[in-house]
Symmetry: C2
Subunit: 411 residues, 2 copies
């Protein structure tokens, strides 16, 4: 493992200083190579699928694992889109001259070696490899073991392009020991690896943060709320509830809990009821909301649960302060939204709610690098430092200070 | 410990939303209270000093621990200067409108609860408490045990001002259990604490990063180089060597190793020799440099050592590439400087050397929040993420996305 990571670290110097033009040419060549290797990748993916089925993998997991022609075309196109992003390196983030005449520039630079740990979907392999390459970083990838052959095939296609361009193939690496012990070792190798990004379930993320000595940017749970204030415009509020809960219940930016102000709760929930019924949403409610919506009584635990399914907690609150209090206790600081026409209340919500993304009069489902206009995303960070919320390619950079002197010494 | 941190976390909501004006008034009141409490603080400090002397604490450690009238006046003035800094919160770092009309603002916010672990000097207590308060953060401070009474006295003076302003005194907290086990517990309390900043020796920093599940911003070692290129202007180079090594050898931005190009090494080292002799600098050299400077032969280990003393490694290199290679192997990515009149070489050095602060024709001693014009500094980060190099008050903030909609739902 150590020899392998030493090579990755060495590769990072060669990768960091490439001309942006060259970087983009290589990315386009990688996209072409993925297209040309479609048959090989599909054959190998079929083997992964067969083994996964035999070992009893479930429906949605199998779906994520399975590749086909359009999916491979999508992978190639995603790499080309990453090539078209603005170069994230060398941005002068700030610059000034101090009293003694030293000129200081704060400039974006690659992070170095980035370890990314993820599950099932093989397209994450090509996406993250391309994002890291574009931002001058070496990546060490650890995908799900059920996708082992597919990931190896995709990485080898990209590595062949690196080789043809006289670049070290270690710039896009798969972790050789993909066992839990291998991950435990990886996350302690702080002399070689600069950042670990775990994307996946709670167990993976706790395991990584408990063991890591390397900085970690988590992609953890989203327990999001939508709060209907007494001055809400129902014409906005009703479609937003349905969108935020039911458009794709499995994702982290879907809501789990709806908070409704007491003064309007009867009228609002009566209008909402048929819309939720139409979507087959299961209700876990407080006493007051159950009277109108029906469903099961919500337990304390329900309010702490990220369902990832079409289940909605509903709670009637006494007003703005109680809503803030509920969100502070149960929220995961991911995405929180208020529906109101009251300007001061809207501003207070945006200011006082501690979450990566706070909304007024919009669905929480927009917390996403693509929707934010980042072009491509590493994921949605639930960490508070370095990258918070949707993490684009700029968050795969750090910075250095370049200082221009003419002989200055410190007094 | 848990109940204590729970209170700190609760306090963070009250502290985060104060009006900036009020924050500054309170800081000025704290400065006044420190001045008025001079006698009490000095009495308590005398007890700390007595005990430290009895337990055999050494000269420079005692010096750091000892307070006097001017030092206390300096602490008060530092708080007033922090009050005068521009409000670091609510800065709109970026802002744009996406295709569906959502207006997105990326805005700076407090981090939350910040744990700071440091040694001996009691003025760090008031400095960091003021920096955290100004940036809307709650601080949990863990100073050196030899300064226990002094730190408690300083914190209690500041807490009394919080109380008089109806604010929770937990906003400025001292860790109740300041033992190693206490620290080990603290750094795992990720549900309450958002960031740990360890400032101190290697042992402390390794201990914290190995045990922490909370993000850590290290303030670790500086193994810095100065490289004299063959096209160096000696009139700039000579004073910079002396400044970077001898002006204050104990600090992290002093150099440990001087690299000199072979083509000019004889002439340069001959001119340098009397200047180093005048400063009593001890030399550890390579074969070629020893012939001119005298001194001991530098071992492999010497090139890896941060002396913190007036000892200088000297190595003659074959040229630019060998210098880069040496810095990549032995440097700690802190501060690196080149002396050259060659434009292309200067630009390549600034670009290719991976360090938080890279210099051309200036002393490495400028890597410092004050010298950079930050007004006050938390310290000098040797981490690569979130804050790299001099860490000012802006690095005590994170950000959130405020998203303004008019009923948008995701398609």
């Amino acid at each position: 493992m150590e020899a392998f990571l030493q090579k990755a670290k060495q590769a990072s110097r060669a990768i960091a200083t490439l001309l942006p033009q060259r970087r983009n040419e290589i990315l386009r060549a990688m996209a072409g190579a993925i297209r040309e290797s479609q048959e090989m990748i599909l054959n190998v993916n079929a083997l992964d699928l067969k083994e996964a089925q035999a070992s009893g993998l479930k429906g949605s997991m199998l779906e994520r694992l399975a590749l086909d022609g359009p999916k491979i075309a999508g992978m190639a196109r995603a790499i080309e889109e990453i090539a078209m992003l603005r170069n994230p390196l060398g941005r002068i983030v700030d610059g000034w001259v101090v009293e003694n005449g030293l000129r200081i520039e704060k400039v974006s630079t690659p992070i170095g070696v980035v370890g990314i740990i993820y599950e099932s979907r093989p397209n994450v392999t090509s996406d993250t490899a391309a994002l890291c390459f574009k931002s001058g970083n070496v990546c060490v990838l650890k995908g799900g073991k059920e996708a082992k052959r597919s990931n190896e095939a995709i990485a080898s296609v990209m590595q062949a392009v690196l080789k043809a361009n006289n670049l070290p193939i270690e710039a896009i690496s798969l972790l050789p020991d993909a066992s839990r012990e291998g991950v435990a070792k990886l996350v302690k190798m702080d002399q070689y690896v600069d950042l670990i990004v775990p994307r996946g379930g709670n167990a993976l993320i706790s395991f990584v943060s408990e063991n890591a000595t390397i900085p970690v940017i988590k992609h953890d749970k989203g327990l999001c709320h939508l709060y209907i204030h007494e001055e809400a415009d129902f014409a906005k509020a009703l479609p937003i509830v349905i969108n935020a809960k039911t458009q794709r219940p499995s994702v982290c930016n879907a809501i789990e809990t709806l908070l409704v102000d007491e003064t309007i709760h009867e009228r609002f929930l009566l209008e909402l009821r048929p819309l939720l019924e139409e979507k087959g949403t299961e209700i876990r409610g407080c006493e007051k909301s159950l009277k109108i919506l029906g469903g099961k009584r919500a337990s304390e635990e329900d309010f702490h649960t990220e369902y990832g399914e079409n289940i909605l907690n509903v709670r009637v609150v006494k007003g703005f302060e109680e809503a803030l209090e509920h969100i502070a206790i149960y929220g995961s600081q991911h995405s929180e939204s208020i529906i109101t026409q009251n300007h001061s209340i809207a501003e207070r919500f945006l200011e006082e709610v501690d979450a990566s993304s706070v909304y007024v009069n919009a669905s929480t489902r927009f917390t996403d690098g693509g929707e934010f206009g980042f072009g491509a995303e590493v994921g949605i960070s639930t960490s508070k430092l370095h990258a918070r919320g949707p993490m684009g390619i700029n968050e795969l950079t750090t910075y250095k200070f370049k200082i221009y002197g003419e002989g200055q010494i410190r007094k």
